[in-house]
Symmetry: C2
Subunit: 217 residues, 2 copies
DNA sequence: CACCAATTCGAACGCTCGTTCGAACTTTGA
DNA sequence: TCAAAGTTCGAACGAGCGTTCGAATTGGTG
Protein backbone atom coordinates (compact mmCIF):
# COMPACT_ATOMS: atom_id res chain seq x y z
CA UNK A 1 0.00 0.00 0.00
CA UNK A 2 1.20 3.47 -0.86
CA UNK A 3 2.15 5.72 2.05
CA UNK A 4 -0.47 8.29 2.93
CA UNK A 5 1.81 11.29 2.60
CA UNK A 6 4.12 10.89 -0.34
CA UNK A 7 5.66 14.33 0.00
CA UNK A 8 6.96 13.80 3.49
CA UNK A 9 9.86 11.57 4.31
CA UNK A 10 8.59 8.38 5.84
CA UNK A 11 9.54 8.04 9.47
CA UNK A 12 8.36 5.23 11.64
CA UNK A 13 7.42 7.55 14.44
CA UNK A 14 5.49 9.86 12.18
CA UNK A 15 3.55 7.06 10.53
CA UNK A 16 2.64 5.45 13.83
CA UNK A 17 1.40 8.73 15.26
CA UNK A 18 -0.59 9.56 12.14
CA UNK A 19 -2.26 6.16 12.17
CA UNK A 20 -3.11 6.57 15.84
CA UNK A 21 -4.64 9.98 15.14
CA UNK A 22 -6.64 8.59 12.25
CA UNK A 23 -7.90 5.76 14.42
CA UNK A 24 -8.98 8.06 17.24
CA UNK A 25 -10.49 10.60 14.86
CA UNK A 26 -12.55 7.90 13.21
CA UNK A 27 -13.91 7.00 16.61
CA UNK A 28 -14.88 10.59 17.37
CA UNK A 29 -16.42 11.10 13.93
CA UNK A 30 -18.33 7.85 14.23
CA UNK A 31 -19.74 8.84 17.60
CA UNK A 32 -20.62 12.48 17.04
CA UNK A 33 -20.72 12.86 13.28
CA UNK A 34 -18.22 14.80 11.20
CA UNK A 35 -19.78 18.25 11.43
CA UNK A 36 -20.74 17.88 15.07
CA UNK A 37 -17.29 16.73 16.18
CA UNK A 38 -14.85 19.54 16.85
CA UNK A 39 -11.13 19.57 16.40
CA UNK A 40 -10.93 20.10 20.15
CA UNK A 41 -12.82 16.84 20.67
CA UNK A 42 -10.28 15.08 18.53
CA UNK A 43 -7.29 16.72 20.19
CA UNK A 44 -8.61 15.64 23.59
CA UNK A 45 -9.20 12.08 22.40
CA UNK A 46 -5.78 11.89 20.77
CA UNK A 47 -4.07 13.36 23.86
CA UNK A 48 -2.45 16.17 22.00
CA UNK A 49 -2.90 19.90 21.65
CA UNK A 50 -5.32 21.44 19.23
CA UNK A 51 -2.63 22.96 17.05
CA UNK A 52 -0.53 19.83 17.27
CA UNK A 53 -3.04 18.04 15.08
CA UNK A 54 -2.34 20.30 12.15
CA UNK A 55 1.13 18.92 11.82
CA UNK A 56 -0.44 15.77 10.35
CA UNK A 57 -3.02 17.23 7.99
CA UNK A 58 -3.99 20.57 6.59
CA UNK A 59 -7.71 20.77 7.34
CA UNK A 60 -10.47 18.92 9.10
CA UNK A 61 -11.82 17.87 5.72
CA UNK A 62 -8.47 16.36 4.74
CA UNK A 63 -8.54 14.38 7.97
CA UNK A 64 -11.91 12.91 6.97
CA UNK A 65 -10.53 12.17 3.53
CA UNK A 66 -7.52 10.36 4.96
CA UNK A 67 -9.71 8.15 7.13
CA UNK A 68 -12.07 7.37 4.27
CA UNK A 69 -9.43 6.80 1.66
CA UNK A 70 -7.32 4.59 3.86
CA UNK A 71 -10.25 2.38 4.89
CA UNK A 72 -11.54 2.06 1.35
CA UNK A 73 -8.15 1.09 0.02
CA UNK A 74 -7.77 -1.56 2.69
CA UNK A 75 -11.09 -3.27 2.08
CA UNK A 76 -10.64 -3.23 -1.67
CA UNK A 77 -7.11 -4.53 -1.40
CA UNK A 78 -8.18 -7.41 0.82
CA UNK A 79 -10.99 -8.21 -1.58
CA UNK A 80 -8.92 -8.26 -4.72
CA UNK A 81 -6.16 -10.31 -3.10
CA UNK A 82 -8.46 -13.20 -2.34
CA UNK A 83 -11.35 -13.01 -4.76
CA UNK A 84 -9.46 -14.76 -7.53
CA UNK A 85 -8.96 -17.80 -5.31
CA UNK A 86 -12.59 -18.76 -5.72
CA UNK A 87 -13.83 -20.23 -8.98
CA UNK A 88 -17.48 -20.94 -8.24
CA UNK A 89 -19.36 -17.67 -8.82
CA UNK A 90 -21.65 -18.19 -5.87
CA UNK A 91 -18.65 -18.82 -3.63
CA UNK A 92 -17.06 -15.69 -5.06
CA UNK A 93 -20.09 -13.68 -4.04
CA UNK A 94 -20.20 -15.34 -0.67
CA UNK A 95 -16.62 -14.27 -0.08
CA UNK A 96 -17.41 -10.76 -1.24
CA UNK A 97 -20.17 -10.47 1.34
CA UNK A 98 -18.03 -11.97 4.04
CA UNK A 99 -15.10 -9.69 3.30
CA UNK A 100 -17.35 -6.64 3.35
CA UNK A 101 -19.10 -7.49 6.61
CA UNK A 102 -15.94 -8.73 8.24
CA UNK A 103 -14.13 -5.52 7.44
CA UNK A 104 -17.13 -3.45 8.42
CA UNK A 105 -17.30 -4.98 11.85
CA UNK A 106 -13.58 -5.13 12.48
CA UNK A 107 -13.07 -1.50 11.47
CA UNK A 108 -16.39 -0.31 12.79
CA UNK A 109 -15.58 3.39 13.26
CA UNK A 110 -13.80 3.85 9.97
CA UNK A 111 -16.49 2.10 7.96
CA UNK A 112 -19.31 3.87 9.71
CA UNK A 113 -17.65 7.14 8.79
CA UNK A 114 -17.20 5.86 5.25
CA UNK A 115 -20.86 4.91 4.96
CA UNK A 116 -22.32 7.90 6.76
CA UNK A 117 -20.12 10.88 5.98
CA UNK A 118 -19.47 10.29 2.30
CA UNK A 119 -20.89 13.63 1.20
CA UNK A 120 -19.37 15.65 3.96
CA UNK A 121 -16.45 15.75 1.54
CA UNK A 122 -16.41 18.17 -1.35
CA UNK A 123 -14.42 18.88 -4.48
CA UNK A 124 -11.32 16.83 -5.11
CA UNK A 125 -11.72 14.81 -1.91
CA UNK A 126 -15.29 13.89 -2.76
CA UNK A 127 -14.38 12.91 -6.30
CA UNK A 128 -11.60 10.59 -5.20
CA UNK A 129 -13.76 8.72 -2.70
CA UNK A 130 -16.56 8.46 -5.24
CA UNK A 131 -14.14 6.98 -7.74
CA UNK A 132 -13.11 4.33 -5.23
CA UNK A 133 -16.75 3.63 -4.51
CA UNK A 134 -17.60 3.23 -8.17
CA UNK A 135 -14.73 0.83 -8.64
CA UNK A 136 -15.95 -1.23 -5.72
CA UNK A 137 -19.49 -1.39 -7.08
CA UNK A 138 -18.19 -2.34 -10.51
CA UNK A 139 -16.26 -5.19 -8.94
CA UNK A 140 -19.42 -6.44 -7.32
CA UNK A 141 -21.37 -6.10 -10.56
CA UNK A 142 -18.79 -8.26 -12.25
CA UNK A 143 -19.21 -11.00 -9.68
CA UNK A 144 -22.97 -10.80 -10.06
CA UNK A 145 -22.67 -11.08 -13.81
CA UNK A 146 -20.62 -14.24 -13.35
CA UNK A 147 -23.36 -15.76 -11.23
CA UNK A 148 -25.85 -15.22 -14.01
CA UNK A 149 -23.54 -16.01 -16.92
CA UNK A 150 -24.73 -19.46 -17.94
CA UNK A 151 -28.40 -18.82 -17.48
CA UNK A 152 -30.99 -18.84 -20.21
CA UNK A 153 -33.75 -17.10 -18.28
CA UNK A 154 -33.97 -13.37 -18.28
CA UNK A 155 -31.18 -11.81 -16.28
CA UNK A 156 -31.61 -9.31 -13.52
CA UNK A 157 -30.11 -5.85 -13.59
CA UNK A 158 -26.66 -6.41 -12.09
CA UNK A 159 -26.10 -2.80 -11.13
CA UNK A 160 -29.42 -2.44 -9.37
CA UNK A 161 -28.92 -5.76 -7.63
CA UNK A 162 -25.45 -4.74 -6.52
CA UNK A 163 -26.78 -1.53 -5.01
CA UNK A 164 -29.45 -3.52 -3.19
CA UNK A 165 -26.90 -5.90 -1.76
CA UNK A 166 -24.68 -3.01 -0.72
CA UNK A 167 -27.59 -1.34 1.03
CA UNK A 168 -28.42 -4.55 2.83
CA UNK A 169 -24.86 -4.79 4.09
CA UNK A 170 -24.11 -1.14 4.82
CA UNK A 171 -27.35 -0.57 6.67
CA UNK A 172 -26.02 -2.65 9.54
CA UNK A 173 -24.35 0.46 10.87
CA UNK A 174 -27.80 1.56 12.01
CA UNK A 175 -28.71 -1.55 13.95
CA UNK A 176 -25.72 -3.83 14.50
CA UNK A 177 -24.15 -3.75 17.92
CA UNK A 178 -20.49 -4.74 17.54
CA UNK A 179 -20.28 -5.38 21.26
CA UNK A 180 -23.08 -7.97 21.26
CA UNK A 181 -23.36 -10.01 18.09
CA UNK A 182 -20.01 -11.09 16.85
CA UNK A 183 -20.92 -14.11 14.76
CA UNK A 184 -19.88 -12.54 11.54
CA UNK A 185 -19.89 -15.85 9.66
CA UNK A 186 -23.56 -16.46 10.34
CA UNK A 187 -24.44 -12.90 9.36
CA UNK A 188 -22.55 -13.21 6.11
CA UNK A 189 -24.18 -16.55 5.31
CA UNK A 190 -27.66 -15.25 6.07
CA UNK A 191 -27.17 -12.27 3.82
CA UNK A 192 -25.62 -14.27 1.01
CA UNK A 193 -28.39 -16.82 1.14
CA UNK A 194 -31.05 -14.13 1.36
CA UNK A 195 -29.63 -12.30 -1.60
CA UNK A 196 -28.98 -15.30 -3.81
CA UNK A 197 -31.95 -17.53 -3.02
CA UNK A 198 -34.46 -15.14 -1.50
CA UNK A 199 -36.53 -15.03 1.61
CA UNK A 200 -39.36 -17.16 0.21
CA UNK A 201 -37.25 -19.56 -1.82
CA UNK A 202 -38.53 -23.07 -2.24
CA UNK A 203 -35.03 -24.43 -2.57
CA UNK A 204 -32.96 -25.68 0.28
CA UNK A 205 -30.48 -23.17 1.55
CA UNK A 206 -27.36 -24.18 -0.32
CA UNK A 207 -25.01 -21.38 0.55
CA UNK A 208 -23.27 -22.19 3.81
CA UNK A 209 -20.06 -24.05 3.36
CA UNK A 210 -16.68 -23.86 5.04
CA UNK A 211 -16.14 -20.74 7.15
CA UNK A 212 -13.64 -18.27 5.77
CA UNK A 213 -10.31 -17.71 7.30
CA UNK A 214 -10.23 -14.50 9.28
CA UNK A 215 -7.34 -12.44 8.07
CA UNK A 216 -5.56 -9.83 10.06
CA UNK A 217 -5.90 -6.24 8.89
CA UNK B 1 -53.45 12.60 12.61
CA UNK B 2 -52.82 14.48 15.82
CA UNK B 3 -51.88 18.15 15.51
CA UNK B 4 -48.21 18.82 15.90
CA UNK B 5 -48.52 21.39 18.66
CA UNK B 6 -51.26 20.38 21.05
CA UNK B 7 -50.64 23.22 23.43
CA UNK B 8 -51.25 25.95 20.91
CA UNK B 9 -54.62 26.77 19.49
CA UNK B 10 -54.91 25.47 15.97
CA UNK B 11 -55.15 28.23 13.39
CA UNK B 12 -55.18 27.63 9.69
CA UNK B 13 -52.59 30.29 9.08
CA UNK B 14 -50.29 28.96 11.76
CA UNK B 15 -50.54 25.37 10.53
CA UNK B 16 -49.89 26.32 6.93
CA UNK B 17 -46.82 28.37 7.85
CA UNK B 18 -45.48 25.65 10.12
CA UNK B 19 -45.85 23.03 7.42
CA UNK B 20 -44.11 25.29 4.94
CA UNK B 21 -41.25 25.82 7.36
CA UNK B 22 -40.97 22.08 7.99
CA UNK B 23 -40.91 21.43 4.25
CA UNK B 24 -38.19 23.99 3.59
CA UNK B 25 -36.16 22.92 6.62
CA UNK B 26 -36.25 19.31 5.48
CA UNK B 27 -34.81 20.46 2.17
CA UNK B 28 -31.99 22.36 3.84
CA UNK B 29 -31.23 19.50 6.23
CA UNK B 30 -31.28 17.00 3.38
CA UNK B 31 -28.84 19.08 1.37
CA UNK B 32 -26.36 20.17 4.02
CA UNK B 33 -26.95 17.76 6.88
CA UNK B 34 -28.45 18.68 10.24
CA UNK B 35 -25.32 19.84 12.01
CA UNK B 36 -23.91 21.61 9.00
CA UNK B 37 -27.09 23.52 8.24
CA UNK B 38 -27.50 26.72 10.23
CA UNK B 39 -30.67 28.35 11.44
CA UNK B 40 -29.70 31.27 9.23
CA UNK B 41 -29.71 28.94 6.21
CA UNK B 42 -33.22 27.87 7.12
CA UNK B 43 -34.44 31.39 7.75
CA UNK B 44 -33.16 32.45 4.34
CA UNK B 45 -34.79 29.48 2.62
CA UNK B 46 -38.07 30.04 4.44
CA UNK B 47 -38.01 33.76 3.64
CA UNK B 48 -38.31 34.84 7.22
CA UNK B 49 -36.10 36.32 9.90
CA UNK B 50 -33.85 34.26 12.09
CA UNK B 51 -35.77 34.97 15.25
CA UNK B 52 -39.07 34.56 13.47
CA UNK B 53 -38.42 30.85 13.21
CA UNK B 54 -38.47 30.43 16.95
CA UNK B 55 -42.13 31.27 17.06
CA UNK B 56 -42.79 27.81 15.61
CA UNK B 57 -40.46 25.65 17.66
CA UNK B 58 -38.22 25.95 20.66
CA UNK B 59 -34.89 24.63 19.41
CA UNK B 60 -33.17 23.40 16.29
CA UNK B 61 -33.38 19.89 17.64
CA UNK B 62 -37.13 20.16 18.07
CA UNK B 63 -37.36 21.26 14.47
CA UNK B 64 -35.58 18.08 13.40
CA UNK B 65 -37.87 16.07 15.62
CA UNK B 66 -40.98 17.64 14.11
CA UNK B 67 -39.82 16.82 10.58
CA UNK B 68 -38.92 13.25 11.50
CA UNK B 69 -41.99 12.55 13.57
CA UNK B 70 -44.39 13.96 11.03
CA UNK B 71 -42.87 11.99 8.13
CA UNK B 72 -42.78 8.77 10.09
CA UNK B 73 -46.38 9.10 11.16
CA UNK B 74 -47.44 9.70 7.57
CA UNK B 75 -45.73 6.68 6.08
CA UNK B 76 -46.95 4.40 8.85
CA UNK B 77 -50.47 5.73 8.60
CA UNK B 78 -50.57 5.14 4.85
CA UNK B 79 -49.21 1.65 5.34
CA UNK B 80 -51.66 0.58 7.99
CA UNK B 81 -54.61 2.02 6.12
CA UNK B 82 -54.04 -0.18 3.12
CA UNK B 83 -52.11 -3.22 4.26
CA UNK B 84 -55.21 -5.05 5.45
CA UNK B 85 -56.69 -4.89 1.96
CA UNK B 86 -54.28 -7.53 0.74
CA UNK B 87 -54.75 -11.15 1.76
CA UNK B 88 -51.91 -12.92 -0.06
CA UNK B 89 -48.81 -12.53 2.13
CA UNK B 90 -46.51 -11.99 -0.84
CA UNK B 91 -48.82 -9.28 -2.13
CA UNK B 92 -48.83 -7.76 1.34
CA UNK B 93 -45.07 -7.58 1.28
CA UNK B 94 -45.07 -6.25 -2.22
CA UNK B 95 -47.34 -3.44 -1.09
CA UNK B 96 -45.13 -2.77 1.92
CA UNK B 97 -42.13 -2.31 -0.32
CA UNK B 98 -44.07 -0.17 -2.76
CA UNK B 99 -45.47 2.03 -0.01
CA UNK B 100 -42.02 2.51 1.49
CA UNK B 101 -40.29 3.37 -1.78
CA UNK B 102 -43.16 5.47 -3.04
CA UNK B 103 -43.19 7.55 0.12
CA UNK B 104 -39.41 7.74 0.13
CA UNK B 105 -39.29 9.18 -3.34
CA UNK B 106 -42.30 11.45 -3.05
CA UNK B 107 -41.08 12.94 0.23
CA UNK B 108 -37.43 12.75 -0.65
CA UNK B 109 -36.06 15.42 1.69
CA UNK B 110 -38.03 14.35 4.74
CA UNK B 111 -37.19 10.69 4.32
CA UNK B 112 -33.53 11.36 3.64
CA UNK B 113 -33.42 13.29 6.89
CA UNK B 114 -35.24 10.47 8.61
CA UNK B 115 -32.79 7.89 7.32
CA UNK B 116 -29.62 9.92 7.73
CA UNK B 117 -30.08 12.11 10.81
CA UNK B 118 -31.77 9.63 13.15
CA UNK B 119 -29.12 9.93 15.82
CA UNK B 120 -28.68 13.65 15.62
CA UNK B 121 -31.58 13.56 18.06
CA UNK B 122 -31.02 12.88 21.74
CA UNK B 123 -32.99 12.19 24.86
CA UNK B 124 -36.75 12.29 24.64
CA UNK B 125 -36.75 13.19 20.95
CA UNK B 126 -34.48 10.27 20.10
CA UNK B 127 -36.54 7.84 22.14
CA UNK B 128 -39.78 8.80 20.44
CA UNK B 129 -38.42 8.38 16.93
CA UNK B 130 -36.81 5.08 17.86
CA UNK B 131 -40.15 3.86 19.19
CA UNK B 132 -41.82 4.69 15.89
CA UNK B 133 -39.01 2.95 14.06
CA UNK B 134 -39.32 -0.17 16.16
CA UNK B 135 -43.04 -0.26 15.53
CA UNK B 136 -42.44 -0.02 11.81
CA UNK B 137 -39.91 -2.85 11.83
CA UNK B 138 -42.25 -4.98 13.93
CA UNK B 139 -44.95 -4.43 11.34
CA UNK B 140 -42.62 -5.64 8.62
CA UNK B 141 -41.56 -8.65 10.68
CA UNK B 142 -45.20 -9.62 11.01
CA UNK B 143 -45.69 -9.53 7.26
CA UNK B 144 -42.56 -11.63 6.80
CA UNK B 145 -43.80 -14.15 9.31
CA UNK B 146 -47.01 -14.45 7.32
CA UNK B 147 -45.07 -15.21 4.19
CA UNK B 148 -43.36 -18.10 5.92
CA UNK B 149 -46.32 -19.29 7.96
CA UNK B 150 -47.37 -22.40 6.05
CA UNK B 151 -43.89 -23.67 5.32
CA UNK B 152 -42.40 -26.88 6.62
CA UNK B 153 -38.78 -26.10 5.82
CA UNK B 154 -36.66 -24.21 8.30
CA UNK B 155 -37.72 -20.61 8.58
CA UNK B 156 -35.47 -17.63 8.23
CA UNK B 157 -34.92 -15.08 10.97
CA UNK B 158 -37.71 -12.56 10.33
CA UNK B 159 -36.10 -9.72 12.23
CA UNK B 160 -32.76 -10.07 10.47
CA UNK B 161 -34.50 -10.39 7.13
CA UNK B 162 -36.60 -7.31 7.84
CA UNK B 163 -33.49 -5.29 8.63
CA UNK B 164 -31.90 -6.49 5.40
CA UNK B 165 -34.92 -5.45 3.38
CA UNK B 166 -35.02 -2.10 5.11
CA UNK B 167 -31.37 -1.53 4.33
CA UNK B 168 -31.92 -2.43 0.71
CA UNK B 169 -34.69 0.14 0.48
CA UNK B 170 -33.27 2.93 2.60
CA UNK B 171 -29.88 2.80 0.96
CA UNK B 172 -31.40 4.32 -2.16
CA UNK B 173 -30.86 7.74 -0.63
CA UNK B 174 -27.19 7.30 -1.47
CA UNK B 175 -27.63 6.51 -5.15
CA UNK B 176 -31.14 7.19 -6.38
CA UNK B 177 -31.61 10.38 -8.37
CA UNK B 178 -35.21 11.49 -7.92
CA UNK B 179 -34.88 13.76 -10.94
CA UNK B 180 -33.92 10.97 -13.31
CA UNK B 181 -35.47 7.61 -12.53
CA UNK B 182 -39.08 7.93 -11.59
CA UNK B 183 -40.35 4.45 -12.37
CA UNK B 184 -41.12 3.63 -8.81
CA UNK B 185 -43.24 0.62 -9.74
CA UNK B 186 -40.37 -1.14 -11.46
CA UNK B 187 -38.02 -0.38 -8.59
CA UNK B 188 -40.50 -1.78 -6.08
CA UNK B 189 -41.05 -4.90 -8.15
CA UNK B 190 -37.35 -5.51 -8.59
CA UNK B 191 -36.70 -5.20 -4.89
CA UNK B 192 -39.66 -7.36 -3.91
CA UNK B 193 -38.65 -10.04 -6.36
CA UNK B 194 -35.02 -9.85 -5.31
CA UNK B 195 -35.92 -10.14 -1.66
CA UNK B 196 -38.52 -12.89 -1.99
CA UNK B 197 -37.04 -15.06 -4.72
CA UNK B 198 -33.39 -14.08 -4.73
CA UNK B 199 -30.90 -12.98 -7.34
CA UNK B 200 -30.00 -16.48 -8.45
CA UNK B 201 -33.42 -18.05 -8.15
CA UNK B 202 -34.27 -20.80 -10.56
CA UNK B 203 -37.95 -19.95 -10.41
CA UNK B 204 -39.66 -17.62 -12.78
CA UNK B 205 -40.11 -14.16 -11.43
CA UNK B 206 -43.66 -14.32 -10.13
CA UNK B 207 -43.92 -11.09 -8.26
CA UNK B 208 -45.02 -8.38 -10.67
CA UNK B 209 -48.72 -8.03 -10.91
CA UNK B 210 -51.03 -5.04 -11.20
CA UNK B 211 -49.41 -1.72 -10.41
CA UNK B 212 -50.50 -0.05 -7.21
CA UNK B 213 -52.63 2.99 -7.15
CA UNK B 214 -50.59 6.07 -6.33
CA UNK B 215 -52.18 7.83 -3.42
CA UNK B 216 -51.85 11.50 -2.64
CA UNK B 217 -50.07 12.35 0.57
C1' DC C 1 27.69 17.57 24.42
C1' DA C 2 26.06 20.42 20.47
C1' DC C 3 23.48 20.78 16.50
C1' DC C 4 19.63 20.57 13.36
C1' DA C 5 15.38 18.73 12.20
C1' DA C 6 11.13 16.81 13.75
C1' DT C 7 7.38 17.47 16.64
C1' DT C 8 4.41 19.84 20.05
C1' DC C 9 2.31 23.67 22.10
C1' DG C 10 -0.24 28.19 24.05
C1' DA C 11 -2.44 31.93 22.61
C1' DA C 12 -4.97 34.27 19.74
C1' DC C 13 -7.53 35.45 15.21
C1' DG C 14 -11.93 36.27 12.83
C1' DC C 15 -16.00 34.13 12.20
C1' DT C 16 -20.40 31.66 12.70
C1' DC C 17 -23.28 29.35 15.73
C1' DG C 18 -28.09 28.79 18.41
C1' DT C 19 -30.86 31.40 21.14
C1' DT C 20 -33.12 35.48 23.49
C1' DC C 21 -35.91 39.67 24.05
C1' DG C 22 -38.60 43.58 23.68
C1' DA C 23 -40.40 46.29 20.21
C1' DA C 24 -43.03 46.57 15.99
C1' DC C 25 -46.19 45.04 12.80
C1' DT C 26 -50.50 42.48 11.23
C1' DT C 27 -54.77 40.13 11.79
C1' DT C 28 -59.06 39.29 14.13
C1' DG C 29 -63.43 40.14 16.13
C1' DA C 30 -66.50 43.15 18.68
C1' DT D 1 -62.58 51.98 14.93
C1' DC D 2 -60.10 50.18 18.67
C1' DA D 3 -57.99 46.94 21.53
C1' DA D 4 -56.35 42.38 22.11
C1' DA D 5 -54.07 38.49 20.19
C1' DG D 6 -51.21 36.54 16.81
C1' DT D 7 -46.99 36.96 14.22
C1' DT D 8 -42.55 38.98 12.69
C1' DC D 9 -38.38 41.34 13.35
C1' DG D 10 -33.50 43.73 14.38
C1' DA D 11 -29.98 43.58 17.35
C1' DA D 12 -27.31 41.55 20.39
C1' DC D 13 -25.46 37.77 23.67
C1' DG D 14 -21.92 34.39 24.96
C1' DA D 15 -19.97 30.37 23.30
C1' DG D 16 -17.60 27.46 20.29
C1' DC D 17 -15.74 26.86 15.72
C1' DG D 18 -11.41 25.84 12.37
C1' DT D 19 -7.14 27.57 11.61
C1' DT D 20 -2.56 30.09 12.16
C1' DC D 21 2.04 31.17 13.94
C1' DG D 22 6.11 31.74 16.33
C1' DA D 23 8.11 29.86 20.20
C1' DA D 24 9.24 25.88 23.03
C1' DT D 25 10.35 21.15 23.39
C1' DT D 26 11.92 16.71 21.99
C1' DG D 27 14.54 13.23 19.31
C1' DG D 28 18.20 11.53 16.54
C1' DT D 29 23.12 12.01 14.92
C1' DG D 30 27.99 13.89 14.65
Amino acid sequence: MAPIETTRLASQRYDARLNEILRVSAQVFAEKGFHNASMRDIARAARTSLSGLYYYFRTKEELLYLISSYAFDRVTELLEQQLSEYSDPREKLRFFVFNHLHFFIRHWNETKVLAHEADSLRGKYFDEIMAKKRRYVALMEQVLDDVQRAQQRRRKDARLSALCLLGMMNWIYTWYDPKKDTNIHRLADVMTSLFLDGFDSREANTVPSAPFQEQRL
